[in-house]
Amino acid sequence: MIMKLKNAFKEYRPLCLGSAKHRAALLAPFFALLLLALCLTASCSGRHNTAVIVAGSTSVQPYAEILAEEFSLLCPDCEVDVQGGGSSAGITAAESGAADIGLSSRVLKENEQHLWFVEIAKDGLAIIIHPANPLSNLTIEQVRAIYAADISNWSELGGANNKIHLITREEGSGTRSAFEDLVMEEKRITTKAIVQDSNGAVKQLVSSDKNSIGFISLGLVDETVMAISLNGLAANWDNIANGSYPLFRPFLFICKEPPTGQTKQFIDFTLSDQGQQILIKEGLIPQQTELKDE
């Protein structure tokens, strides 16, 4: 076996280890490719220098992308480059200057308060069940008990005698971390829960399984699923605006310093009537809505 390998290697030797000239011919295509790759990356990073870089929460990212698209129609010379990475990464990027605007779907922590920020909108979180489920109201404590697997049958909540099929989001998801902060508190979501990797997949599953429960962004609720009321309060804009429906989170734009130039133009556009209308159309709650107790 080893002999065979040696022979095979000998056969290839003239090809691999020929004269210097031949070796150069062999390597030339590699260098050409390398050069090409370098040029490409160089031209990309060259473009970035003039663009407004927006990075952070993947919950805010799709909305920021829509805003960036509309903004580029208004200002053809401007370029807004939207990236993901998560809320914490976005805040860090804004602080370090790696991004002009950081996106966050959570409030700033104590040690981040020195950064400049503006709330662009609010997003509600809806607990959804199948429309045929007779229940329509739960308390936050009940939802917490369901997700901690302390309650595992709908009959314990006054429903039919069926096992509850829990659906949650994957680790790292902004929607999941919002749900953990707002509902679970110190409890943990059971590992038995089914994990889906998007709002759409959770909605699809809940709409097809009458024993299931899940949570998605309020803006995405439609007639295929039922958003349950919490503590007797329906999940809608009015109840979030008056502070009675507790499950919502802010969407923030964060900058290192008060913005200037194109960055400021983009933020101004987002906060303008036109920008806010876009966000409303996409299902968010506009920034102008003041909360009673804040």
Binding site: G86, E171, G172, G174, I194, V195, D197, L205, D209
Partner: protein, 281 residues
């Protein structure tokens, strides 16, 4: 001049061949560099046999996913292998030419369907059936096994058919001349003679099943708990990477690459054993 041309052509092919090998080398080095730090930090044993996966709490144990991968793959093999082997025997020995000409391309077509389509089909058809008739949430080991069994059929059928067809004609003729009927000739002469090819087909099919990602993300449910029955949702090594890669950063990301290392080693073992068996004869 001609000699130069030939040498040049040889060299160009060598470079192209190197590029495919270097892709493999690059990927291997990359996932090792990315994944090794977290493995050494957590400890190899704790990483592979740890029961808890909660990256946000710095718990990185992939044992439930190992169990998930093994159980789904085993289920797929149990369902797919008998069907696949029987189908290849039928195609090689029994089918009239017209039937064979329809079956063969149809089975090849099965291999050409994108896995996301399999997943979607499973989500729409198989899962409601399991949920309604067998109970549970429907997203389960059983659903994954059924879909994967279908997906590995083309691999198993075509390789075992080829290895049956490759047998010398004398084997069958001799068996028939000794007074065996056709089934006896197949069962006691041809199948044992084609054993290594068939086993390789099964192993390659298993390799395909264990590496499949997209279809199973949609139908397995991805729960990170040890399953108690075949109707429980489960997460495999591949879906762990697929489902969490989008948001992962830092150690979480490294842990996903480390999951990839484990998967890589498993698949290497599977492929190596397939090669070993086919070479042995």
């Amino acid at each position: 001049m001609n000699n130069f041309k030939e040498k040049l052509a040889g060299r160009i092919f060598l470079v192209l061949a190197f590029s495919s090998i270097s892709a493999l080398a690059l990927i291997t080095v990359f996932i090792l560099i990315q994944g090794a730090p977290i493995m050494t930090k957590v400890g190899l044993f704790k990483f592979v046999f740890g029961m808890e996966w909660a990256p946000s709490q710095e718990k990185f144990g992939i044992f439930p996913m190992l169990v998930g991968s093994v159980s789904v793959t085993l289920g797929a093999a149990l369902l797919g292998v008998p069907i696949g082997i029987c189908c290849s025997i039928f195609l090689a020995e029994f089918a009239p030419a017209t039937v064979r000409n329809i079956f063969r391309p149809a089975i090849q077509l099965l291999a050409g369907i994108p896995s996301v389509v399999y997943g979607f089909w499973g989500l729409i058809f198989i899962i409601p059936v399991i949920r309604d008739y067998l109970g549970g949430p429907g997203l389960s080991i059983l659903a994954g096994s059924i879909i994967l069994a279908i997906m590995i059929l083309p691999t198993i059928i075509s390789i075992s058919e080829v290895s049956i067809l490759a047998l010398p004609r004398q084997y069958k003729e001799g068996a028939l001349a000794l007074g065996m009927n056709q089934w006896q000739a197949i069962w006691s002469v041809m199948l044992p003679a084609a054993k290594s090819g068939i086993v390789a087909a099964v192993i390659l099919g298993i390799g395909r099943a264990i590496g499949e990602t997209m279809a199973v993300i949609m139908i397995l449910g991805n729960a990170v708990a040890l399953p108690e029955s075949i109707l429980d949702p489960v997460r495999t090594l591949t879906t762990n990477i697929g489902i969490e890669m989008g948001y992962a950063a830092g150690e979480h990301r490294q842990a996903l690459f480390a999951t990839g290392i484990v998967l890589f080693i498993i698949i290497m073992i599977i492929n190596a054993s397939a090669q070993y068996i086919t070479r042995k004869k």
